[in-house]
């Protein structure tokens, strides 16, 4: 009997230490010791006691997988313990000129809560250089991939309250291999990140814990970083795949970053991103060869907000919500020049209760805001925004359950008035009717003009001035005020508007959402004529970073009539879309001209010879335009000044069917627009003709 008791005690005594060992460090978060660590070596490689402290060693110290005792004495000098309960801090003290940390492998997942990785501590960081919070000063410390290595993720964050500040991260992507890889990113935020691929070398995977909201890292902050571009601002030799991937995290904050040049989206959410705050970032020129949308939201995004960002010159939508759950707030952003490669809406909304206000949405080859019909999306309030230069409606509600390819990209155009209650079930924002003016023109009175019309009863009708001419649904450029429709469904507004003004209106109802705009009505003079208003010169916005105000210089001498000679085409080899060295010379000339004259914009028309199928050739011509565009981007030409227009085999250069004729057909033509009086001779050149 007694013997049995002893055995029992022994078993308990043996298992208790075992239990304590199996508790992963992430659970025993409070037990983690905090250190203040200074990274002094830009090298990377296996952890070993040596002269300098690397970032890998610093992260392992913070994670508790490395103790200071395992370091050399020289390294221990850079580690100071912090009082218990305080998160670790990683600062940088790299020798000047060696501030690029080139990784050879994935850094360990960050599981230390409240860890701060602060690149602004590096000597030489000029915090005052930032003129605009959207364009933070150039970081000094950059984190990238060693040449010849492949690293899928820059930083992988799995702990609460981690802050990443003042770093430049670029070059994180994967190459083709036997299986596909999980999406790489500069910064990947998720509890238990998935392995990069499913090769036998990858760690064995237990089931994901993505359903458990408690395990998701909370309150991660990404600020003042340059993602996707090195500190010198050049296009990196190896572009990153995605910027910030908020895969499974709550209350993440992404603020004051410059996110540029990614193959995929700048910010993409995965399974859960509740409470995501994206504010005051400059998101420029992303989506070059992958997910084209600048901010792509998927999964749970309840109470998220996208505020005061500059979203410019990305290849798809500025913001695309794909089958999300929960509402987001999109306020104060400048969303312009997007849709460089895909003609999509500037903002595409799916889901209910989103709010879009005080944004500027413009220069988009598609509508401003599109609301999907499926899954049925309701109560989206889209008010107080300004629009310009759209190729579509300012607000486009998809109707009749339209779910074609175009409907998920560009919307379906103006809707007819609701003729049945059932329209509400198959139209975005429950088919709220757009207001209609009683006439296409209103005669101005002595001081004011009275605009009357009909709208859904009880809705609030926002009146807008229209600046652009020609199209009955031109973009809404400036708000003129709000009136409420009567219970009978009529509205009337008296405004002091000069004759010649053109107006439109949208209706909003808290129960349903915001409508499409009304067809434009004009204000006539008292004698019934429509005078032409003097055109106000529009200062076209750009995506450029603010520059310090230039020192006052003497006014330049009046410009002589300039005559420029610019080649207007480059040629390609049969069935190829890569840029030959000869074509690169031509492209360099074009890039030089575009850099010299920053107002020039260009359309890249891709063409092929007439062989192979039309669909194949269309794709091939698109690849050719893209290759030329990407080359120019690398030469520093801003992406917002170029548009891809593939023509396939529809517009041949020549008539015959010989080798020379086909070689002439295989080309990209550069069609310059907005010349501003510049006298340019466009030259057809054949220096780079490639015969088969």
């Amino acid at each position: 009997m007694k013997q049995q008791w002893w055995i029992g005690y022994g078993a308990v005594a043996l298992t208790v230490p075992g239990l304590a060992l199996t508790v992963p460090p992430a659970v025993g978060q409070s037990a983690l010791a905090g250190y203040s660590v200074r990274v002094t070596s830009a090298g990377d490689g296996p952890v070993q006691p040596d002269e300098g402290l690397t970032l890998r060693e610093a992260v392992e110290l913070a994670n508790g997988t490395l103790t200071p005792e395992q370091l050399s004495e020289a390294e221990q000098a850079f580690v100071q313990p912090l009082p218990t309960g305080q998160g670790s801090r990683i600062g940088f003290d790299l020798p000047a000129g060696q501030t690029t940390i080139a990784l050879v492998d994935l850094l360990p997942e960050i599981i230390a809560p409240e860890l701060v990785i602060d690149g602004t501590t590096q000597a030489g960081y000029d915090a005052s250089a930032g003129l605009d919070p959207k364009f933070p000063p150039a970081p000094v410390v950059s984190l990238t991939v060693a040449e010849g290595s492949e690293v899928a993720r820059g930083l992988t964050i799995a702990a609460d309250g981690v802050t990443v500040r003042g770093l430049s991260l670029y070059g994180f992507r994967t190459s083709d291999r036997a299986t596909q890889t999980t999406p790489p990113a500069d910064i990947f935020i998720s509890a238990l990140a998935p392995p990069v691929d499913s090769s036998p070398l990858s760690p064995a995977l237990e089931l994901f814990r993505i359903e458990d909201a408690e395990a998701a890292p909370r309150g991660v902050v990404i600020e003042q970083n340059w993602l996707g571009l090195p500190p010198d601002g050049e296009f990196p030799a190896v572009p990153s795949a995605f910027g910030v991937s908020v895969f499974n995290a709550v209350e993440t904050t992404i603020r004051n970053n410059r996110i540029q040049n990614h193959d995929g989206s700048a910010i993409i959410t995965g399974f859960r991103a509740d409470g995501l705050q994206v504010s005051e970032n400059a998101i420029i020129g992303n989506g070059l060869a992958g997910m084209p949308d600048a901010i792509r939201l998927e999964g749970a995004i309840a109470s998220s907000a996208i505020t005061d960002n500059l979203i410019c010159a990305n290849d798809g939508s500025g913001i695309y919500l794909f089958k999300t759950e929960g509402a987001t707030q999109i306020t104060g952003n400048a969303i312009q020049y997007n849709g460089r490669r895909f003609e999509r809406a500037a903002v595409y909304l799916m889901g209910n209760d989103h709010q879009l206000s005080d944004n500027f949405i413009g220069y988009q080859p598609g509508p401003g805001v599109a609301v999907t019909a499926y899954p049925l999306s309701l109560r989206n309030q889209i008010r107080g925004n300004r629009y310009a230069g759209l190729d579509g409606l300012s607000i486009d509600l998809n109707t009749q359950g339209n779910t074609g390819v175009q409907d998920f990209q560009k919307g379906d155009g103006p809707n007819p008035p609701r003729n049945s209650y059932h329209r509400r079930r198959e139209t975005g924002n429950a088919a709220i009717n757009s207001p209609e003016f009683d006439a296409y023109s209103f005669a101005s009175g002595a001081a004011e003009v009275t605009l009357t019309g009909t709208a859904d009863p009880g809705t609030e009708v926002d009146l807008y001035r229209i600046a652009e001419e020609g199209f009955p649904y031109s973009p809404l450029s400036e708000s003129l005020g709000t009136v409420t429709a009567s219970p009978e469904g009529t509205f009337s507004a008296s405004l002091a508007l000069p004759p010649g003004t053109r107006v439109s209106a949208i209706a909003s109802d808290p129960e349903w959402g915001t409508s499409e705009p009304a067809p434009v009505a004009a204000v006539l003079a008292a004698d019934g004529t429509l005078p032409d208003l003097p055109a106000t010169p529009v200062e076209l916005p750009t995506c450029a970073a603010p520059v310090p105000p230039p020192a006052p210089v003497e006014p330049p001498p009046p410009l002589e009539p300039l005559v420029l000679t610019v080649p207007r085409n480059i040629h390609f080899a049969l069935d190829r879309s890569d840029i030959s060295p000869e074509s690169a010379v031509i492209l360099d000339q074009i890039a030089a001209v575009m850099l010299e004259y920053p107002f020039l914009t260009v359309e890249l028309h891709g063409h092929t010879d007439p062989r192979a199928s039309a669909a194949y050739n269309l794709a091939l011509s698109e690849r050719r335009s893209l290759a030329a565009r990407n080359y120019l981007v690398r030469q520093g030409v801003p992406p917002e000044r170029m548009r891809i227009v593939p023509f396939g085999e529809t517009q041949r250069r020549s008539q015959g069917s010989g080798r020379v004729e086909y070689a002439r057909d295989r080309r990209v033509e550069f069609v310059f627009t907005d010349l501003r009086g510049l006298d340019i001779i466009f030259q057809d050149q054949e220096a780079d003709l490639q015969l088969e």
Partner: protein, 308 residues
């Protein structure tokens, strides 16, 4: 000139005389040719031979040449126009003798197509009863002693559709004959549907954004609309707004489908971290006859789209 005219008149008169004489000679009593048409030649053969019990004389039936016999009529119907294996089809034949002679004896033959067999003892005849009934698997022969002028006989019988019928043509011919009557036949076309032995299968599938890289669709993993799936036979399938698709009437065997990544810009196939096989760009389904196959495609946001 005048002389020529006179010669012409003379010639015309001669012609007129010829025509008149011909008409007169044929306006007389009916000719012997017309009489022969309504005459009936009855022909009967007799044979005599010396049997063991003295000379025997046997007489054949009569054949009648020249008699204007109204042929027998035969109508064939069934209780359905289409049938599947396992069904019993009830056929009805109605044979009528509209002539003025008795059809003696009357023989009715029914030939079945492949895969149809008679239900034993299912033959019913009214009002006459057959003197002889010969049934094989695929044919039925009934002999009646005589069908009087104006009389009819109705025959009903059941036929079982076996799975073999799918390979036959379903066309079945009944024939009635009697001495002195030209045989008449009536076909009936039955549409054979494969029914329970159909070997076409169905393929179901979905295209969705995989968040946990397990190849299965769970809550929070939305379907991708308008994705294109190509089958090995060239069928092009478009997913619905929920990312689902289905393909009916697929021939059984090994079927391959692949996702056209060009139809979903921004996405590529997701890695499957649990099953190596599901990392393939295409799905391979062994579709058993009448079976159900599944082709799920998990996708994930992409970068670095191929630049050739």
């Amino acid at each position: 000139m005048r002389r020529n005219q006179r010669q012409l008149y003379r010639g015309l008169l001669f012609l007129l005389a010829l025509v008149l004489s011909y008409c007169l000679s044929h306006a007389g009593p009916p000719s012997t040719v017309a009489q022969a048409q309504s005459r009936v030649f009855v022909n009967q053969a007799t044979a005599q031979f010396d049997g063991p019990e003295g000379p025997v004389t046997v007489t054949s039936n009569e054949t009648r040449v020249g008699e204007d016999i109204v042929p027998l009529s035969i109508v064939k119907t069934a209780d359905r126009a289409a049938a599947e294996p396992g069904d019993v089809v009830v056929y009805r034949l109605l044979v009528t003798n509209p002539s003025s002679r008795a059809a003696t004896p009357l023989t009715i033959t029914d030939q079945l197509p492949r895969g149809l067999i008679y239900v034993p003892d299912s033959v019913q005849t009214t009002p006459l009863q057959p003197t002889q009934q010969v049934t094989t698997d695929s044919s039925l022969t009934l002999t009646f002693p005589s069908l009087e002028p104006g009389a009819s006989v109705s025959i009903a019988y059941g036929v079982l559709i076996t799975p073999d019928a799918v390979r036959g043509d379903g066309r079945n011919v009944a024939q009635a004959s009697a001495p002195g009557f030209a045989p008449v036949s009536a076909p009936f076309q039955l549409t054979i549907r494969p029914g329970i032995v159909s070997d076409c299968g169905t393929i179901l599938g979905r295209v969705f954004v995989d968040k946990n890289f397990d190849g299965q669709q769970q809550p929070g993993e939305p379907g991708v609309p308008n994705a294109v799936v190509f089958m090995d036979d060239g069928n092009r399938i478009l997913t619905d707004p929920d990312g689902l698709f289905s393909l009916a009437n697929v021939l059984p065997g090994y079927r391959v489908g692949t996702l056209d990544l060009y139809s979903l810009p921004g996405y590529t196939l997701a890695p499957n971290l649990y099953r190596i096989e599901d990392n393939s760009a295409s799905r391979f389904v062994r579709l058993s006859p009448g079976g159900l196959g599944r082709m799920n495609f998990a996708v994930t946001p992409t970068f670095g789209e191929e630049q050739s």
